[in-house]
Symmetry: C2
Subunit: 180 residues, 2 copies
DNA sequence: CTTACATATGCAATTTCTTGCACAGACAAT
DNA sequence: ATTGTCTGTGCAAGAAATTGCATATGTAAG
């Protein structure tokens, strides 16, 4: 029930439509957790059925109708209970590692190119995160509790991308060097 | 089709039963990618149906029968094709980050305790990986291609755990300090 | 003697996630 | 005019993953 809880958390800030939620995901956790709009709509239906959120249709002139969801008291209670439960470390299914397990002379060049591609991709991500950090979180110690959570998410993103970059460099050097 | 390909890669080394594969997973990629034996058996059935692996039942006295799978030529070809395809960065669904997004004065102590728990858990993982590294990979540059892949997997594990530890320390300091 | 653990495979049900498709209007640019 | 992008919600099908249960034997420890 991970995505549904992420939705609940987002709704603690304000009532939102599926579209709002999808956009917000894209700009925050979506960096390292891509979520499609279909999944969000599906989860919202489930949450509504479980009475954890309340749906309200808003009709606007010259606009598609929006369905805005807000937390209910049972939803708030469920969220509070979930937050205090122990977590499990995320699984880390890195395709590239599996491919490197199959490294041989036939695929070496292709894998080297792929590592290089991934390296630049993670470089771009890092630059994006650091720009957000510089703009919105110049002084983390001065943040209130709610914003500290967001800061730590971004911080994790930055650390992870730096680590990935460093690993790519090592991998390029090792795979690229002659075998002994 | 990620797990199925991981199984194929493992079978390039030698023919194995579902049980063998599960055990091997546990000791390698399973550190950051937990796979249940049910999933492996299910995938093996699919792979056999697709003729990517060949099943052979081995009857032993006083033992449950084993079903050993080996790669077929089409399986080998499919694997080779897959290895050269581009990869996508893994998604990173860290529950703890979602919970920290909901950080407030009511759950602060529980979250601090949880971060501390996770910190020690990742410390244990790191120690385990570093022990394996010291024992099996004292000199990475001297490894052949196949072992370089494995080394890089382990190396990624070490870097990731170190990063996670550093993040936990930051999180403990920030969440633990007084809000301004 | 009983409990626990290792070997060995599997079904069934459910949940979760992904992919493809469909509808429908507004606004800006070419 | 047409193309593209943004707003906005959804179904349907399938793939992937999780959870719970079931079976069967050997060996070691308490």
């Amino acid at each position: 029930m991970a995505l549904s809880h992420a939705i609940l958390v987002s709704l603690t800030d304000r009532a939102q439509s599926g579209y709002d939620l999808a956009k917000r995901f894209d700009q925050t956790v979506g960096f390292f957790w891509p979520v499609s709009h279909q999944q969000i709509y599906q989860e919202l239906h489930k949450l509504a059925k479980a009475d954890w959120v309340r749906a309200e249709t808003i009709t606007q002139a010259d606009r598609p109708n929006r369905i805005v969801y807000e937390l209910t008291d049972p939803g708030r209670a469920a969220l509070a209970a979930w937050v205090t439960e122990p977590t499990t470390p995320p699984s880390f299914k890195e395709e590239l590692l599996v491919k490197l397990f199959a490294l041989d002379s036939d695929n070496r060049d292709a894998l080297l190119a792929e590592i290089a591609r991934r390296r630049s991709l993670h470089g771009e991500r890092l630059a994006r995160y650091e720009a957000i950090m510089a703009e919105h979180y110049p002084n983390p110690a001065a943040l209130n509790a709610r914003k500290r959570g967001r800061y730590l998410g971004l911080r994790m993103g930055i650390l992870t991308e730096r680590t990935t970059l460093a690993w790519c460099d090592e991998a390029l050097a090792l795979v690229g060097s002659a075998a002994s």
